[in-house]
């Protein structure tokens, strides 16, 4: 049997092995992409998200000076445009997304440079079909699956309960409650892998509360529930 020091030496030596050089064809392909996608100075570059900036979402992301100015400018422009075309006072009601049937399990499909996104249809027994879009900026989520809320859940409105699955320390179970028309949800897993921000659409005119939702998230390493900071917000 080898000792830990021996193992560390073997591992370190193995990482020192030469790996060869990148083929010229790979470099040429990248240069060809640049030639076929020429670009000049981007006047809006300062307003775009810095790829090495914080991976936050919403206000956390736009609360830097330049993006904040850009956001305010865009909002003003949108308001002026809305008023100009007369739509400001005659807005159409929100469009309800198409209904989908619950699916048991989904794994993320990630883009190489952007966050992984996936959609999970939520199981519920009272109201309409519900779903949640998950944006994983941490690249640590390996699976997301709806749990069965049964007859209801005992979680206060506007709270998300986070618990570990006793059988799997890498799985956390999120439980929250809402109304029968709470069908659209979005969950952002920040780059830290521990900040979960859930958003749900406004559910107006709903008199039936107490509809439960359960979502099971499996990560690539043990994920103690106590480390998570989960919030839920209602958005227009």
């Amino acid at each position: 049997m080898t000792t830990p020091n021996e193992q560390d030496r073997r591992i370190a030596a193995w990482f020192e092995e030469p790996q060869g050089r990148v083929p010229e064809g790979t470099i040429e392909a990248a240069l060809a992409h640049a030639r076929t996608h020429p670009r000049g100075r981007d006047p809006l570059a300062a307003f775009r998200r810095d790829p090495m900036g914080s991976g936050g979402f919403g206000l956390g992301r736009i609360a830097q000076p330049l993006p904040l100015l850009a956001a305010v400018g865009l909002l003003l422009a949108a308001a002026v445009a809305g008023a100009a075309i007369g739509g400001w006072f005659e807005r159409e009601p929100a469009v309800v997304p198409p209904v989908v049937s619950p699916s048991p399990s989904v794994t993320p499909s990630e883009a190489p440079s952007g966050p992984a996104t996936l959609r999970v249809d939520l199981i519920e027994h009272v109201g309409n079909d519900a779903f949640i879009e998950i944006i994983d900026e941490s690249f640590t989520l390996t699976e997301a699956i709806s749990g069965d809320p049964g007859d209801g859940v005992d979680v206060e409105q506007d709270l998300v309960r986070v618990e570990n699955d006793p059988a799997d320390p890498a799985t956390v179970v999120l439980t929250w409650s809402g109304g029968t028309c709470d069908t659209r949800h979005e969950l952002v897993i920040n780059a830290d892998g521990r900040t979960l921000r859930m958003f749900r659409g406004t559910c107006e005119g709903d008199s039936l509360g107490g509809v439960g939702h359960v979502l099971r998230l499996t990560f690539d390493a043990p994920a103690p529930a106590a480390e998570f900071d989960a919030t839920i917000e209602t958005t227009p």
């Binding site: 020192e16 030469p18 790979t26 240069l31 000049g40 914080s54 690539d220």
Partner: protein, 188 residues
């Protein structure tokens, strides 16, 4: 010099971009190859990262962060490639052997025995792509936990714990292989 290239490439200067590519490509390939253990997948990951560099460079506000950003891009491209490969036909095997030019000229004593190398190789392949990436950033790129946290955009504590779990997983796999080999020797 690199800062100048980054600034010019961000403005659309293709010559500067080529200079950056030639400065960075081998380093990115070495990282991708260590994570993926596959020459062709590593090539694809590098190409993806280089294309992203060209497309998104104008958004990088601090040119001094270029190296850290490229580490992030190649780690993500490699993890994505590994996951695609696992989901593809055959389900899970990154089993192609090392390229012929990787170590043919080296005597086994340069890094221990061939058996040693193969054991580490086997153990490393069994880790999750994210674990392989974090170990590569630490052992090969020489990044500390805070630097890994910066590169991957995660808290320092999280980077430390992921590095710990990944190292532990690799050691456990090596131990398991050693025990299995001992068992085979006894029964033979």
């Amino acid at each position: 010099m690199q800062r100048d290239l980054v600034e010019r490439a961000a403005r659309g200067d293709q010559e500067a971009f080529e200079g950056l590519v030639r400065l960075s490509a081998d380093r990115l390939f070495a990282i991708a190859h260590r994570i993926l253990r596959d020459h062709h997948l590593a090539e694809d990951a590098v190409q993806q990262a280089l294309v992203t560099i060209w497309d998104e460079l104008p958004r990088l506000r601090d040119p001094e962060r270029f190296d850290a950003w490229t580490y992030r891009l190649i780690a993500r491209a490699s993890i994505a490639a590994a996951k695609r490969e696992r989901r593809g036909p055959g389900g899970g095997a990154l089993v192609r052997l090392l390229p012929a030019d990787a170590d043919a000229s080296r005597a086994p004593d340069d890094f221990g025995s061939v058996a040693d190398r193969d054991e580490v190789e086997r153990g490393f392949r069994q880790l999750k792509p994210e674990q392989r990436a974090i170990l590569t950033l630490h052992h090969y790129a020489g990044l500390s936990s805070p630097e890994i946290a910066d590169v991957l955009g995660i808290p320092v504590g999280t980077a430390g714990s992921r590095l710990h779990y990944a190292s532990q997983a690799l050691r456990a796999t090596l131990e398991a292989h050693a025990r299995a080999d001992q068992g085979k020797e006894r029964s033979a």
